[in-house]
């Protein structure tokens, strides 16, 4: 089943001579349960692509369908609601809310939705991510790896259609990095979770089902691997 479809997406910054084409007519689609790595040198447009997929940045032209919904046809409020229900975003710098404890940070998308996620799902998630004993701590009391795991849990709490991760290991040491990647793999298998990861770490890319390579805003290769 197709969970994501990108149709002729372009993103252009600036105007005239100062124009920078970050994304140049990109089209592709992703099926449910796929683990996709997007790779490319810096400046190739991979972060821009991810932000457009995540509904936080608008494309200059083109459409993005997540779960059959044309997300940029939604108004700002609807898009925000869509984001918290169907998309999970993970950043390099975790971006946790410093005034909320771990539990609240994880539940944030649900709380914003005035819902309580199932306790079983929550317990299962924190157990899988090995942060059950950290639930009442504030983000600044956690290590980088732990913070990233909290942000992964937050991305997954609403069982989104799509999890998007922007260099999730960029700020972590090798040990923590490989742990995080194994977790992604695990979650992908366990919950049939569709995952898109941006990375320039070759070992991470090797773990993916599919590797999309970007250069100068264009897809130069789309390689489906069998592991």
């Amino acid at each position: 089943m197709e969970i994501l479809r990108v149709e002729n997406c372009s993103k252009i910054y600036g105007a005239k001579e100062a124009q920078v084409i970050a994304l140049n007519d990109v089209s592709f689609s992703v099926k449910q349960g796929e683990f996709v790595a997007i790779v490319g040198p810096s400046g190739s447009g991979k972060s821009t692509l991810l932000h457009i997929l995540g509904g936080v940045d608008r494309p200059t032209s083109g459409k993005v369908f997540v779960d059959q919904t044309d997300i940029y046809a939604l108004n700002e409020s609807k898009l925000a609601i869509f984001r918290r229900r169907h998309l999970g975003l993970i950043y390099q710098f975790y971006n946790l809310i410093p005034i909320l404890d771990v539990q609240e940070n994880i539940m944030l998308p649900a709380l914003l939705d005035r819902q309580r996620p199932s306790q079983q799902h929550f317990d299962d998630l924190v157990a899988t991510l090995a942060i059950s004993n950290r639930l009442l701590h504030l983000p600044n009391q956690l290590s980088g790896g732990q913070q990233q795991r909290v942000s992964i849990a937050r991305a997954l709490i609403n069982q989104p259609a799509l999890v998007l991760a922007d260099e999730p290991t960029g700020n972590l040491d090798r040990q923590n990095s490989s742990e995080i990647i194994s977790l992604f793999r695990l979650l992908n298998r366990k919950y049939k979770q569709t995952v898109l990861i941006i990375t320039h770490d070759a070992t991470i890319a090797q773990n993916a089902d599919r590797i999309i390579s970007l250069e100068d805003g264009k897809i130069i290769s789309d390689e489906v691997r069998k592991i």
């Binding site: 936080v56 940045d57 609601i81 975003l89 971006n95 809310i97 998308p109």
Partner: protein, 854 residues
């Protein structure tokens, strides 16, 4: 330029908006201090000018029979200028029994003297040579400029003793052993003819207590005069020590009398005057303290916020080897650069502000003071320097702690910005019910405030200060002036004239004439017959009975009968639906004004005095002047009203006003004096008053008294308005500082949380719930400041009441109006600031904000 200076300037330029905000804060504070200084100097100058106009611009006067002796005395280093004068003598121009100014006094002055005495020439010029004279218009009315005048000038004596020129008219009474009283009055002696040429007409400036009208001639040492010469000295320098030195020098001078102009010198601080200086200095000190505290809060806030924004750069500097002192100097330098710009601008603004205020206030001010001194802008540079000094101290105090902090920040902390995220779970714990009631947005809002507790606190404090200041000062003003205002607002007439006539016929003529003036809107003339009865014999209302039983009332009840002229009485009857046919000749029928407003034992009582059933009462009539009982008679109280005729507002529990017409009580007025109370509503009270005075002054055989209530009320209102302009101006400025403070705090708070906001949005917070969260933050700011502000204000109101109720009966009235007003104001203010700063952020691109450094 060294690198620290460069770095400071660059970062100030970089944060241009912030630099501007801080500069505005400093400008407002300095402007207030300079405004206080300018206002003080302007008012003091006004008082001093007033004093000089009234009493002359001199410091010490020496008088000695020998002019040459005086000349030698004056040759001292502490004498700045000396001006000469001599009273030549007096001539009688009016009857001492009729006039308070029986004499014309001729004084010789030298040129500086004319200026020092503030003599103003209306026509012609000042005397410039011996034998020239200037007089008032009244005294010179028989002459024209250029005429020769011969005056027969004499010495004032009483029982052979010389009366000093500045003494009032002397009378003494001797009681002989047999009890007979002989009165002696002063006389004029040793008359000498002087010939003068009239060269000018002056304004009358003679003081009320001196029994003479002034005329001035030119001073010449060869003049023969009845009185000793006087030299008026101005001292230099204007210090207390100068006065002491002078007294030492003149200590043992024989035959010399010395007068120190202490009422002027005390304003120069040359004479200790405990009361004035402590009261004034105390008041100024309190105001300056308030301004300083508010300013420190503001400036400190500005600097510590700009510091936290620069923590990273400072960390970078120190990782490259900048010393603590260098980091500290970064903050001080910033303060210095800002002050260089903001202090002069602030001083200027303060002066301009007061100048504008004074132009506005001056005409009002002039309407209730009678001197010719003008309230104008005066800037004393000493005071401006003092204000500058205080500003510098204020800024230094505000910067001290941020500077210390800057030097202590550790490299890692600042690079990682750890200081800003050092939060403990406990410090941001919020009660469960918050989320229950206000939702996640409310909870987040409260947690945000708890996180930046210091900033939250300083914002709440400045809001609270504004609230308390506004409520308590406006309460103070309203209770102080309310009493005065209410009294005048209750009067139902503009002009009151009391006539004491010699015959009933002439009184009628005069009253008709007054009634027919074009200025009259409404007119009522009345006479009063004093009467009394006893409570025991009267059907009194329960409240009166109660007061009587409690011992607040005497045995007798005063029953003054107001006998109103027919026209007014008829219209009064119409007003109260009375029956005119009852008030026939000698019917002794009257109407009772049966509503009393009174206070006993600090409690107010309002109610009926008498039972409202018509009855007949025995009364004793008393004579208005002698107070003796003239007659016993019966009065029929036929009707009751709570409407008062002109000139009356209500009865009291011990005095019920009875109203009737002339016919009804004609036989009761036989022996009364011919005193008429005339109350008028006027189309133009001032012109009307002049007209009445002119008319009655020309009439013979009548004594009168005029009270212009309307102009009194106008003066009071103007006084209040002037006070209000200053007080509310001050509150507005102080509030402006608070507003700046709030804007500072809130905008930076929002700025620093940009990334966090973007984060919340990226996980799906809708714009609506974002707004909701921000609104909750505003509400919490408002609520917290009201929570502190209201109780403190109530406390101060109670204190004001406590102080004011000594001697006054003041109703304790909580000024709900100001509370509501302040509440609305605070919330509007916080909401606007919040929405403004958030609106800028909402348009932020989520991605850009997430990538931001801070």
């Amino acid at each position: 330029m060294n690198i620290i200076k460069k770095f400071t300037l660059a970062s100030m330029k970089n944060n241009r908006r912030w630099t501007l905000v801080t500069a505005i804060g400093i400008i407002i504070s300095v402007a207030m201090l300079s405004a206080i200084a300018t206002l003080t100097s302007s008012f003091l100058s006004y008082i001093i000018e007033n004093e000089k106009i009234g009493n002359g611009d001199w410091h010490v006067r020496l008088q000695h029979p020998d002019q040459n002796e005086l000349k030698m005395k004056v040759d001292q280093p502490f004498v700045d200028t000396a001006s000469w004068q001599q009273v030549l003598g007096f001539v009688q121009v009016n009857d001492p029994d009729q006039s308070s100014k029986p004499y014309l006094q001729v004084t010789a002055l030298d040129s500086p003297g004319f200026i020092q005495q503030y003599i103003r020439v209306i026509k012609g010029r000042f005397p410039l040579a011996k034998g020239e004279i200037v007089m008032t218009e009244e005294q010179a009315k028989a002459y024209k400029i250029g005429d020769q005048i011969t005056l027969n000038l004499s010495l004032r004596t009483l029982n052979g003793e010389v009366v000093p020129a500045e003494f009032g008219y002397m009378r003494t009474q001797d009681i002989a052993s047999d009890g007979t009283i002989t009165e002696t009055v002063e006389i004029l002696e040793q008359a000498v003819d002087y010939r003068f040429t009239l060269v000018g007409i002056i304004e009358d400036s003679s003081k009320t207590y001196i029994p003479a009208i002034n005329a001035y001639t030119f001073y010449d040492s060869s003049l023969a005069a009845h009185y000793d010469p006087i030299v008026s000295i101005k001292l230099t320098p204007l210090r207390q020590s100068t006065l002491i030195e002078m007294k030492e020098v003149y200590k043992n001078s024989e035959n010399m009398s010395m007068t120190v102009n202490s009422s002027l010198l005390r304003y120069y601080g040359m004479i200790d005057n405990q009361e004035i200086s402590t009261a004034l200095a105390g008041l100024i000190a309190i105001i300056v303290m308030i301004v300083m505290v508010a300013s420190i809060a503001l400036i400190y806030n500005s600097f510590s916020i700009s510091l936290s924004q620069r923590t990273r750069q400072l960390g970078m500097l120190s990782s490259l080897g900048a010393t603590k002192a260098q980091k500290r100097s970064n903050v001080f330098l910033e303060a210095f650069y800002l002050s260089m710009f903001a202090i002069p601008v602030g001083i200027l603004f303060g002066i301009i502000g007061i100048s504008l205020t004074l132009t506005f206030v001056e005409p009002l001010f002039r309407s209730f003071v009678t001197t010719s001194a003008t309230l104008k802008l005066v800037v004393w540079w000493q005071l401006i320097f003092a204000a500058t000094g205080i500003s510098i101290i204020t800024i230094a105090l505000s910067v001290w702690i941020p500077a210390l902090r800057a030097s202590h920040i550790s490299i890692m902390d600042s690079l990682m910005q750890r200081k800003d995220i050092k939060i403990s779970a406990r410090s941001i714990k919020t009660p469960r019910w918050i989320r229950w009631i206000f939702g996640l947005e409310g909870d987040l809002a409260l947690k945000n405030l708890k996180r930046s507790k210091k900033r939250f606190r300083s914002t709440v404090i400045s809001l609270t200060v504004s609230i308390v200041l506004f409520i308590s000062v406006s309460y103070f003003m309203s209770s102080l002036f309310g009493l005065a205002k209410v009294e005048y607002e209750n009067t139902n007439y503009d002009l009151y004239v009391q006539l004491l006539d010699s015959t009933a016929e002439s009184a009628t003529t005069r009253i008709d004439r007054l009634r027919n003036s074009d200025y009259v809107n409404k007119f009522q003339s009345s006479r009063i017959i004093s009467a009394r009865s006893y409570y025991e014999e009267l059907p009194i209302a329960p409240i009166t009975q109660q007061l009587y039983n409690e011992g607040f009332l005497a045995k007798s009840l005063q029953l003054p009968i107001i006998v109103i002229d027919d026209i007014s009485f008829n219209s009064f009857l119409e007003q109260i639906n009375g029956n005119p046919s009852m008030f026939t000749k000698d019917s002794n029928n009257v109407i009772a004004l049966n509503i009393a407003k009174d206070s006993y034992n600090n409690k107010r009582y309002t109610g009926k005095v008498l039972d409202e059933n018509p009855f007949t009462v025995n009364v004793e009539l008393t004579h208005s002047e002698s107070g003796e009982i003239t007659k016993n008679t019966k009065l029929n109280i036929v009707s009751f009203t709570d409407k008062a005729p002109m000139g009356y507002s209500a009865s009291m529990f011990f005095r019920v006003v009875l109203i009737t017409n002339q016919e009804s009580v004609a036989s009761l007025m036989d022996n009364e004096i011919l005193r008429y109370d005339i109350y008028m509503e006027s189309k133009n009270d001032q012109l009307h008053e002049v007209e009445i005075r002119e008319y009655l002054n020309e009439s013979d055989g009548v004594r009168f008294f005029i009270n212009n209530m309307k102009s009194e009320y106008r003066n009071i209102s103007n006084t209040i308005l002037v006070m209000e302009v200053f007080v509310y101006g001050f509150i507005i400025l102080i509030s402006l500082i608070s507003v700046m403070n709030i804007i500072n705090t809130i905008t930076t708070n929002v700025q620093l949380r940009r990334k966090e906001f973007a984060m919340l949005r990226s996980v799906g917070m809708t714009p609506q719930s974002f707004d909701k969260m921000v609104r909750f933050e505003s509400v919490f700011y408002g609520l917290s400041s009201l929570m502190f502000g209201f109780p403190i204000s109530l406390l101060i109101i109670a204190l004001i009441n406590q102080t004011m109720s000594d001697g006054f009966i003041v109703d304790v009235q909580i000024p709900y109006g100001s509370f509501v007003f302040v509440t609305l104001l605070i919330f509007t203010l916080v909401f606007i600031t919040m929405s403004y700063s958030v609106a800028r952020i909402r348009s932020d691109n989520i991605v850009d904000a997430l990538k931001m450094d801070i």
